[in-house]
Amino acid sequence: MFFVTYLRRELRRRMRQAIFIVLGLALGIGLVVTVTAASAGVRKAQSQVLKSLYGVGTDVTITGKAPKPPSPASGPPKNGQTFTVGPGGGRVCTNGKCHNAAGQTIDSLDSTSYSPISQSEVAAIARLKNVKAVAGGLALSDTSITFPKHFGQAGGSLPTPASFSVQGADTSHVSLGPLSAGTITAGRSLRAGDANSDVAVIDAGYAKSHKLKVGSTVSVVGHKFAVVGIVEQPQSGSPPQVYIPLARAQALGKALGKSLKGDVNTIYVTAISAANIPGVQREIENLLPSATVTSASSLARQVTGSLSSTARLANDFGRWLSILVLIAAFTVASLLTMAAVARRVREFGTLKALGWRSRRIVAQVMGESLAVGLIGGAAGVGLGFAGAAVITAIAPKLSATIGGSTGQGVASAGTAGAVGGGGPRFFSPAAPHTVAVPMSASVTLAAIVAAVVLALVGGLLAGSFGSWRIARLRPADALARVA
């Protein structure tokens, strides 16, 4: 085919120039592909972080506001246990009655990070427009301290409390909430029939460190729960360590000494579609003005740490760098193509004298430019894959801290005051939570399509300037210019 032969020969004639253009385009397109892959990797990491917090399919999470710690002046609560250290030594107060702490054990299951929300609100949210599914949950902390018999004597020290996190999960909606993100590695998950049973699913890390397996028992405020399954959450962090049926958590848990029967402190909501999420979020905020309502996107804005920095780097710096390199590559390609056309004026004049129409010559030049563009695009995709592989190979794990800006702090165990104020970090969107996620840049089909489109645009742009000149070229002028 004459068109292809002519195109091939012409590109071979100006091989160095063609290679220069190809390299320029490849660099620009490769950078775009790499940055897109890195962005996709960062998005994936963000999504992993958010998914682990939210659970698969959760669009909006509602948590009760952070409870105020009881003031010392108010005295011990009438319900619940507290421990105080005074001049007379340690004292344990149970339901308002206080005793010497020596030789005693106190164990509590408390809602330390969030105030309770009535479970009736779960039903109210379920009735809202565009809400697909709702599940309530209780994020609790089981903390126990055993005081030695000689506690309070000279040389005695404050014992270290033992604590673990307990998640009351709605057994009829386990597909929503923290359990949904995990993978059951042994046994089974909780199910609807477990609602009032003393069964538990244990986090894989917790199970390993405490040598627990399916069939073992775990003690929650002195109640034995049979372990029916082991769950592994998607990434490291601090997921709940023990999952028990919500009804059991409500029966055993307390918030500042008050029973949590009929309460939850976390509500997981799925909207009918992604487009409905902001509207659902607004409606819930109106319904529960004192609660904290977060969606994946609002939570994503709270992400700090190296993941956030990398996202900014990829999205802002990377994008602008790619655009600049692409503009430079397109400009160089256009200038070189115009220079090539200028050198070939006699050739085009001769072709016009032979009866070639301008559009036929333009097509020839555009064909050459497109071929160079496509080769540049292919090389760019190759470079993009290489860049993505390098990022995946050398990128360190990214840390993401979420929830710190919500103002909800995490109390530490062992401080003077209510024992219920202590506990491990909760696995919840509103609590500060730092996780390490691997960064992997993967070239997506969309990035490849974008590369091909850019290559075509680059080729067309470069060719169009030269073609414009050819179209305006009068054959007599072209021939006279070189005569």
Binding site: F2, Y6, R346, G355, W356, P475, V482
Partner: protein
């Protein structure tokens, strides 16, 4: 047959207007060989460009077989060039990246001739100029004479009615010049071409049926 009537071609050079062709009225019969002589810059090449539809006159009419080249569309003139007018240039004007055969083939591209027919006609054209064995050579691998033969084959492969040659021997040595002129004369006779040949060489001009001299844009036929 060419019929030129009161043809003028003016060029602007800065603020000045320079007449390249002035008040030219001329008839060139079919099959006639007209040699045009004249000093450089006196309008010889402009006349060829006007005859070939590569340029349009400022005023006057140029008819080829009854079609006024000054009035028809650019597309029509281009088609006419593709079908009926062959060009030969002093500097050969071959595409350097294409072989001799491909250069000849280039003249058939606008005519949408099928691939097999193109090959046959290219081979025949190269045969007729004695270059069948150089078909795959690039212009850079050919001598000046061979390049001009290739250019002649390219001009004739489409079997034009008119052949316009702008100093076709200007870049050749004496032996090659004679060889090319002999070839052109032979083809002119065999094919009944209308040949308009611009040359500085009086010896070549005298072989034509008619000789004209361009002086300051005016043609005087002797």
């Amino acid at each position: 047959m060419y019929q030129l009537t009161d043809v003028n071609k003016l060029y602007s050079k800065g603020r000045r207007t320079v007449p390249a062709v002035r008040d030219l009225t001329l008839t060139i019969e079919d099959g006639q060989w007209l040699a045009v002589q004249g000093k450089t810059g006196h309008g010889k090449s402009t006349l060829l460009n006007l005859l070939g539809g590569l340029d349009r006159p400022t005023s006057g009419t140029i008819e080829l077989d009854g079609q006024d080249l000054t009035r028809v569309s650019e597309d029509r003139v281009t088609r006419l060039r593709a079908q009926s007018i062959g060009f030969i240039f002093q500097t050969f004007n071959l595409v350097p990246t294409l072989s001799a055969a491909e250069n000849v083939e280039a003249a058939l591209i606008p005519l949408a001739v099928g691939s097999a027919e193109r090959s046959r006609r290219v081979q025949a054209a190269l045969d007729s100029v004695g270059l069948a064995d150089r078909a795959r050579h690039l212009p850079g691998e050919l001598s000046g004479g061979q390049q001009q033969r290739t250019a002649i084959a390219r001009a004739l492969v489409k079997a034009p009615k008119v052949l316009l040659a702008d100093e076709p021997t200007g870049n050749l040595d004496e032996d090659t010049r004679d060889e090319i002129i002999n070839l052109l004369e032979k083809l002119w006779r065999e094919r009944g071409l209308t040949l308009v040949l611009v040359t500085h060489d009086t010896g070549i001009a005298q072989r034509a049926q008619r000789v004209g001299v361009m002086t300051k844009g005016q043609l005087k036929i002797s």
